[in-house]
Symmetry: C2
Subunit: 190 residues, 2 copies
Amino acid sequence: MVETVTKKELIFIEAAKLFQSKGYAATSIRELADQVGLKPSSFYSHIKGKEEILEIICKKASALFAEGLENVLNNHDKPIKQLEAIIDLHIDVAFGNPSAITVFNDEWRHLSGEALAEFRRSRKSYQDGVIKIIKEAKAKGQVKDLDATIVFNLIIGGSRWLHFISKPSESMVSKIRGQLKQLFFDGMRE
Amino acid sequence: MVETVTKKELIFIEAAKLFQSKGYAATSIRELADQVGLKPSSFYSHIKGKEEILEIICKKASALFAEGLENVLNNHDKPIKQLEAIIDLHIDVAFGNPSAITVFNDEWRHLSGEALAEFRRSRKSYQDGVIKIIKEAKAKGQVKDLDATIVFNLIIGGSRWLHFISKPSESMVSKIRGQLKQLFFDGMRE
DNA sequence: CATATATTTACGAACGATCATTCGTACCTA
DNA sequence: TAGGTACGAATGATCGTTCGTAAATATATG
């Protein structure tokens, strides 16, 4: 066993890519199977159905943010530092796990039943966590008196395009990181 | 003829709503016909095919931004004022034509051939126009020395969630407008 | 170590469902 | 009478998925 990635994991990796570029609904099992090097029928030796793939990917993406938030809270005391770490988290996910961004933002709506409900809960819980940080920073007088939901959505939306950058160099990432933080914290006005 | 909206226009209106909530690929002609009060076959008395609907909607959405940019340039001299007007434009479109935002951001990728090429040109032209404003503002020392593309994408992405607000009151819209501008221009730091 | 057995993985063929679309025809209106 | 609008029925294509079966792999037994 030389391969460190099982075929099932490979399915999720390739599926995430396709879902990102074409969308869940427009991606067929046949196309996906082809990408993995399997016949469509062989697919069902590994997964229960198409939606299971989306479920797993969505779960991974929301776990990424949930764990990220947890780390932020463990590693920083001051809310303003936590806020900065949250921005870092979004940038890290966008560059390190590009397809997670798309799925987290757009494709989850193709879930159904309990998987959809659970994703919504998880997303809401993340949002609440970040909003709590914003409110604490506000209470300490470190950020302006702004609606926390608006600030949250600006951070979410403001890092929603980064995954379009194909092969960002290390220096480019750090430049974007710096400028985005500057924008979020101090705006563009000179 | 009491109706001021032709059936063909109604098709585009309902289609835009469905594309926004379910996505283009996941929206069937049957469903769309049902929403308009027609049988699927009757649909083709009005339109050439499914993709034509997306084409028209995408064209309208990009025209919205193109005309908006033109107005901004005609009505304001100083780049910093133009920039503010651009932000207003995005907020106006998000609230006044919610489905245009989704289509402009996401669904256009389902276009093909010349329609896709033309949309890309139009989008690029809008982006170039806004970036030019940002650079002029920078040259005048009115905004920080930031990468114009980053600023542009933050504005685009930062107003990409507004259409989720279902029935915003007038006061809510103006509150969001004020806070978003404050964020874009001066950031969240107190 | 070799052999038999069980389990997993892969496949071709086919299923029913649904897809966008076409066609011939009827209706409605000008 | 003519042109637009609507419809039922049917088309071929593609969808996700199932099924029986064969190959490959792992496990157990001699």
